[in-house]
């Protein structure tokens, strides 16, 4: 069985300042259901169906994307802190000037011909996925009263079972826009919010030309590691 989450560590459904939430989040309370085999299983070999795509979004030489080179080291773990080997992780973000390469993005910021902005990674035995990319820019949200999205990276992650599925966003430390972001601040508990912000780590190890960020994603589920009685 998966334990229920503390609502304070999650976002409200309807969020002030984000008009679409009031059109889309159900008005009726969510129904509590028993957990059965159906919710507590999942595709164990998802990576066979959704394989890795593009492990490097920054490129090299003449094909190098514009912007600050960064390296994001993400660990996918469960509630016991045990790594989730084979976890599939989808990542996407905008370019250094704040523009997504997506038909829905009508922002005036320019596209970068050397930046595509989407990757799919598969975690190794330690639950680790690494992505070399450039730091995304901030951008204004259309039809709002001055809401700017801080630099952020989208993550879509599969854990061990159907109920472990997680879609979230990673933020960067020290960004003034983090304080006012409607999405980040919809998570009520300040500690839970802080865990959505990556840690800038010294680069004594690893790539010397990129800013290293560490980030941990905790998916629902536990008990995959042997546990002692009592």
């Amino acid at each position: 069985m998966l334990s229920r989450r503390d609502p304070a560590t999650q976002s409200e459904g309807v969020v002030q300042g984000y008009a679409q939430t009031a059109q889309r989040w159900p008005s009726q309370p969510l129904v509590r259901r028993p957990q059965t085999k159906s919710e507590l299983t999942g595709p164990a070999h998802l990576a066979r169906r959704l394989g890795a795509v593009r492990g490097d979004l920054a490129g090299h030489g003449e094909k190098r994307a514009l912007g600050q080179l960064i390296h994001i080291r993400t660990r996918v773990v469960d509630e016991d802190g045990a790594p989730v080997p084979g976890a599939v992780v989808e990542v996407w973000h905008c370019n250094a000037s704040g523009r997504y390469k997506h038909p829905n993005d009508s922002d005036h910021a320019p596209l970068d011909p050397n930046f595509y902005g989407a990757a799919r990674l598969v975690a190794g035995d330690s639950g680790l996925v690494e992505l070399r990319t450039i730091k995304p820019g901030a951008y204004p949200v259309p039809d709002t009263a001055g809401w700017w999205r801080p630099p952020h990276v989208h993550f879509s992650v599969w854990g061990r079972v159907w109920l472990s599925r997680l879609v979230t966003q990673m933020f960067f430390p020290g960004e003034p826009l983090n304080q006012a972001d409607v999405i980040l601040n919809a998570i009520r508990d300040p500690q839970a919010r802080n865990r959505c912000i990556a840690t800038l780590t010294p680069t004594a190890q690893g790539p010397q030309d990129a800013l290293m960020y560490d980030y941990q994603i905790v998916v629902r589920g536990r008990g995959a590691t042997p546990r002692l009685e009592k």
Binding site: E12, P26, K37, R222, R227
Partner: protein
């Protein structure tokens, strides 16, 4: 006792810019499997004002025709995105009953404006089932698909009149 207890990361919205390539190419679960009755599942997804939602991501998880999950003979997981008319489509096989559960398909919705993903379940008929029974009686009909030829139609209303029941786990 476990040495560590971590709190699951907070969910956040998919946003409007989920790469289209990720949502495509995974909505045929019947391909390559020998077993079961091949069916199509389709439906329209709308919001409070009735507007159909474009490029909403739908993921499903289901048992094989024998009621087995992750059996090796059938993958059981798929993903689709709605089109400009709010319509999604899956081709799959009809799942069997499993350990006290009536045949059903788990649905998960991801979209801009959904701060957390939404979970619902499609059933093929009114039947005794612990998850269906958890839903107030007057709302259960919303979770039962309508047969239309070889297809099952399962419309999803996020909010408003005829709102689909969603689950909290």
């Amino acid at each position: 006792m476990s040495a560590m207890s971590l709190i699951p990361t907070g969910e956040m919205t998919l946003g409007p810019f989920f790469p289209r390539e990720f949502a495509q190419g995974a909505n045929d679960l019947a391909m390559g499997t020998e077993q079961g009755e091949v069916i199509e599942i389709t439906g329209r997804i709308t919001q409070l004002d009735g507007r159909p939602l474009d490029n909403l991501v739908v993921e499903i998880w289901q048992a094989d025709s024998q009621g087995r999950f992750d059996s090796g003979e059938f993958f059981g997981w798929g993903r689709a995105a709605t089109d400009a008319n709010g319509v999604y489509r899956f081709r799959t096989i009809k799942p069997g009953a499993c350990e006290g559960r009536a045949p059903h398909i788990n649905f998960l919705l991801l979209y801009s404006g959904l701060m957390r993903h939404l979970q619902t379940v499609m059933f093929f008929e009114a039947a005794k089932d612990p998850v269906l029974d958890a839903v107030p009686a007057e709302r259960r009909q919303q979770l039962i698909a309508r047969r239309e030829g070889a297809a099952y139609r399962f419309d999803i209303r996020l909010r408003g009149d005829g709102e689909t029941p969603f689950f909290d786990d």
